[in-house]
Symmetry: C2
Subunit: 354 residues, 2 copies
């Protein structure tokens, strides 16, 4: 850790030599320090950016926890491919590609995914959606392991192809309920503080979700105390989604490889929370893109002790919040790399000397 | 106004037809509506973006209100030209040009400004900085008129050259004190709530600034009630800066031409507040980029009843906050123009139909 502190001090020294009052770029300066720490080097680089959306369906949907029918997960995967979704538009605007991973979308294998420039489709199906976690664990150990490894593989392939920054989002009707149960199980809050409206259920839907989350926590209360990787695995398997487990593996591999990881909204943050418990030594590499309009997100981030870059009331998922934050990373890095110093520019610093 | 409401309703209808839960892009959807209203048409377009930094010096500097010596204003103009300043780096990163207007920087006319690609220098000098406003009005009526017209001209030239979005920032050692007095004079707060640390004075500096602002308000208390354009002109002339008056003219011309205007930090917001009093009928076209780390900014925006896009604790001025916000405008516009609808994408909406 003393190495990390020396790194941070060097970043601070460089920032303070630049032609601006010390600290006047605010959180952008902190962002530079975070990226340097994630990378383990004083140089910061954002591009190439790899954006991956993990998609899967959720057995808990039968409990009426979503405003949308389950087939929307499948329809949206095709919408990503046809480049009509919000994430597609943002990825195009940023000049980055989009990869969608089918981790288990209901309706069988995709055979008709159109090939488009800037879009890649991958298959890592663990089944036709998770088991309803009020009936049993959402998935088996074997499913967990397969998804975790698939997520790791997707991250490693992106890194080998050159990615400096990795972004993950998700698509899965019903997954705010699953993510809420996960965050509660891991100890980041309770059903009262974390359950929100998701994609837009009404007050009765919120009550229903709250009931489902509470029931799932009772049902899966561990018989012995768990910690670290075991705790992470337990709750991800019991109440998580296929897409969340793959995302967790993706995060872990990216952090381990010392890359910057940008976390999207509530669901991705719950997964990041799980990875932080399993792998605390690398969790400093997470950058939280935004605090979403989903009620529990602000609570979750506070409990995790982290600060998000944006607060725009977005609540769409599918990596959109993370994509909107990418220009801030680019700008922070550009300022850090491109500004003149007081000395080179011949500008007086606050002491009147330079 | 009924026309504006119909416009907003049409924007909402288009946004709600897109493949996302209604309102799930949060404040980005409001941003689209604001841009449409500013433009007076349902189509939204962000680029080309014109970025102008108005620079001038302040007589009130003799009161010891800044952490930096006055010559820094001049040095920073040259730093903009040499593309080493934060604003230069951000403009380059965004692919937009930067214009700097000398409205009266101490040290005489610039003769040595380097010509660089993406940088333009303009001269609109009203003198060697303002008069110390504890001694008299900061400027004469003639100076005000010349600067207002110069600002208008800069905006009109940019619009004729194609600009769809206009951004203004400032550079002027001592100008947070001037902007604070302006905001107080206009009725947006008092010295206690609005005076902050500027570029970084200590607690004694804050007390000194507070004393200067209070004294300026006593000295220039109007002998008769003023409103509208007269109120705007009065306080801008008495306690404003040359760069602020030019920026006010720039804002007014851009809004009148139905362009989107992006307001930077505390000083630009105080100028926007003045223009909102003078020209309330067009002030809906302002987009406030960020709430800065300068203490009074949050108070000022609240009193104006507006919300800013970013909250990153930046406090550098020189249009940097506005430049950091430009990608959000671009992304909001791209989503609005580029997303599929439920119908075209074959995605079920929340009713299960489309």
């Amino acid at each position: 850790m003393s190495g990390e502190s020396a790194l941070r001090a060097e970043v601070r020294r460089r920032l303070d030599a630049q032609t601006k009052p010390p600290g006047s770029l605010g959180f952008l300066e902190e962002l530079v320090a975070c990226m340097a720490e994630a990378r383990g080097v004083v140089e910061v680089k954002v591009d190439p950016v790899a954006v991956v959306i993990f998609a899967a369906d959720h057995g808990v949907c039968v409990r009426g926890v979503s405003a949308y029918p389950q087939e929307v997960t499948r329809q949206m995967v095709l919408n990503f491919a046809r480049r009509g979704a919000a994430a597609s538009v943002l990825a195009r605007e940023l000049g980055v590609g989009l990869t969608v991973v089918d981790c288990g979308v209901v309706g069988g294998r995709f055979v008709e995914v159109p090939e488009r420039r800037g879009f890649r489709f991958e298959e890592a199906r663990a089944g036709e959606g998770t088991t309803d976690f009020l009936v049993g664990p959402a998935m088996s150990e074997e499913q967990f392991d397969g998804l975790w490894d698939a997520g790791r593989r997707v991250a490693l392939e992106a890194i080998v192809a050159g990615a400096e920054t990795l972004v993950a989002g998700e698509m899965g009707i019903g997954n705010t309920t699953s993510a809420t149960a996960l965050a509660c199980g891991l100890g980041f809050g309770d059903a009262e503080s974390l359950v929100g409206r998701g994609t837009g259920v009404g007050e009765d839907g919120v009550l229903r979700k709250r009931g489902v989350v509470k029931e799932s926590l009772r049902r899966h209360a561990p018989v012995q105390p768990l910690a670290g990787v075991a705790l992470m695995r337990y709750w991800l398997s019991c109440v998580g989604g296929f897409e969340m487990v793959a995302m967790a593996g993706f995060f872990q591999a990216a952090l381990e490889a010392r890359k910057v990881v940008v976390v999207d909204g509530f669901i991705a943050s719950a997964v990041a929370a799980a990875v932080s418990i399993g792998y605390p030594q690398v969790s400093g590499g997470f950058i939280f893109a935004h605090v979403s309009g989903e009620r529990g997100h602000r609570v979750l981030l506070e409990r995790m002790g982290v600060r998000a870059l944006l607060d725009l009331g977005m609540r769409l998922g599918e990596a959109t919040g993370a994509l909107v934050a990418i220009p801030l990373l680019r700008q922070a890095a550009a300022l850090y790399c491109g500004m003149a110093t007081f000395k080179t520019a011949g500008v007086s610093d606050s002491s009147g000397l330079f």
